[in-house]
């Protein structure tokens, strides 16, 4: 699974960073950066919690091969 950020919605509140710090980090300017876009092994639950915990609903998970699978 990979993480997708809607930067139009994200305001850098950082709840995702506190739940899955290997994937998310808010930078000094308050912008969210993805340290990696693929969900690391064993961290799916944390990343799902981050997606659910986003107050601006700016995060979603997509299958890695989402583009390859469409017709």
């Amino acid at each position: 699974m990979k993480v997708v950020v809607d930067y139009g919605k994200c305001t850098g509140l950082g709840i995702c960073e506190s739940l899955a710090p290997d994937v998310f980090e808010v930078n000094d300017d308050g912008e969210l950066e993805l340290k990696q876009s693929s969900v690391p092994e064993g961290q799916l639950e944390d990343v799902e919690a981050a997606v659910e915990g986003c107050p601006t609903e700016a995060l979603r998970l997509e299958p890695d091969d989402s583009s390859a699978d469409t017709e």
């Binding site: 950082g14 709840i15 506190s18 710090p21 808010v26 930078n27 000094d28 308050g30 659910e52 915990g53």
Partner: protein, 411 residues
């Protein structure tokens, strides 16, 4: 007995998340969502921020609805009962009363939230508003658009956000606070003082240590008289003096209610099938080894989901632990807080010469880090939330802060 009908009372964030979590967990029975307001569930944080901004040319702002009615009815398959509050709970018969109707439940999540406190003696006077609901926000916004001279009663987070928005519109604003220092209970005296400097720097009047004697006017508010005899002319008074958990309707239910519905770590009320979540719940937070009642977005969302999952399957109920988190936006500055503030010591570990423009503060409880607060340091705050969750020592927190300063110093 397995659950066939889940009833959720309270149609705000915690109630929404209860419904969604139930479906996500595979529950295919009936769900009823009861809400006192006529509106579909909507998000409250924007009401004191973006919702109040902009001008008439932008048109009326949209209500920040979480989901469409269509989504509730079809995707989530939820029966909505909106526009009337629940008035009684009979746990013997497993029935919730809503107006003249009785709604029978197998599992129940109570998420009725909190009600903004009124200023006594202001009922019936136009131009005096609390700010909790979207209807409140519509009225406050209209007054701001009309160029109202604004008095905010209470220098808490919501009142401060309103003051900041009014200043952004160029309006005259005065904030009145009974305590000598704003936000003392929420963030401690030192950080309360630093926060309040944001008001004065932005030319918002700040009157601390005085209370409101009376709010006067014929049909509309005209002035606010303070306890020191001074008078503030006003077209709009926004009252931000806190909220009380909405538990009045539970009188006689047998639930233990004292500043919130008492729950154990799994959000169970002690009454079969009945769980609570959000602002109304006073639950035992294992991470801090104490009962807490939070009025924060994050805990409301998480508790709603957890309460529903636990209510649907009590034998596998999981406890809910959290490091409290809240944020507030004033005058373009972002204030963020994690943990608890009633600590033994506060140390400002990093700050600009003017700490109101940027600072990082840590709170110590015993030999552990218990809280952290930042102003305009968004890359710092969540690192401490992680440390608090892991019960990191005070020494480790201080040396981590030291390493962060070193990193910042070389960049």
């Amino acid at each position: 007995m397995s659950v066939e009908h889940l009833v959720v009372v309270g149609a705000s964030l915690a109630g929404l998340r209860a419904v969604e979590a139930a479906r996500k967990a595979g529950f295919d029975g009936r769900i009823t969502l009861v809400g006192a307001e006529e509106h579909l569930p909507y998000d409250r944080p924007p009401l004191s921020k973006a919702f109040l901004e902009g001008d008439r040319l932008d048109g009326a702002p949209e209500i920040p609805l979480f989901r469409s009615g269509e989504t509730f009815r079809h995707e989530l398959d939820v029966h909505l009962m909106l526009g009337e509050p629940a008035t009684a709970l009979d746990p013997e018969r497993k029935v919730v009363c809503v107006g003249q109707r009785e709604v029978a439940y197998d599992a129940l999540v109570l998420a009725t939230g909190a009600t903004a406190r009124d200023l006594p003696g202001t009922q019936g006077l136009d131009g005096v508003h609390t700010l909790r609901t979207v209807d409140d926000a519509v009225a406050v916004r209209a007054a701001l658009e009309g160029g109202a001279r604004t008095v905010v009663v209470g220098a808490g987070f919501i009142g401060s956000e309103v003051a900041a928005t009014a200043r952004k519109r160029g309006l005259d604003v005065t904030v009145v606070e009974t305590l000598p220092t704003p936000l003392q209970a929420a963030v401690g005296r030192t950080m309360g003082e630093i926060c309040s400097s944001l008001h004065t720097r932005n030319a918002t009047g700040l009157r601390c240590g005085v209370s409101v004697d009376s709010v006067e006017g014929r049909a509309r508010v005209e002035r606010v008289v303070l306890s020191d005899g001074s008078v503030l002319d006003a077209d709009l008074v926004v009252v931000g003096i806190g909220a009380a958990p909405s538990t009045g309707w539970l009188a006689g239910s047998g639930l233990v209610v004292d500043d919130g519905i008492h729950c154990d770590a799994t959000l169970w009320t002690g009454v079969e099938g009945v769980y609570a979540a959000g602002d109304v719940a006073r639950w035992y937070n294992p991470l801090f080894d104490r009962a807490m009642r939070l009025e924060h977005w994050t805990s409301a969302a998480e508790q709603g989901a957890r309460a529903a999952r636990n209510a649907l399957d009590p034998p596998t109920a999981r406890s809910y632990s959290t490091v409290p988190y809240f944020w507030s936006d004033w005058y373009g500055s972002r204030i963020q807080f994690v943990g608890v503030a009633d600590a033994d010591e506060l140390v400002i570990v990093d700050a600009d010469p003017d700490p109101g423009s940027r600072c990082v503060a840590l709170y110590r409880a015993g030999d552990a880090v218990a809280g952290a607060m930042t102003i305009n340091a968004p890359t710092e705050i969540m690192k401490y939330r992680g440390m608090i969750a892991k019960r990191a020592s005070w020494r480790d927190a201080l040396s981590f802060a030291e390493s962060r300063r070193a990193v910042a110093g070389v960049s």
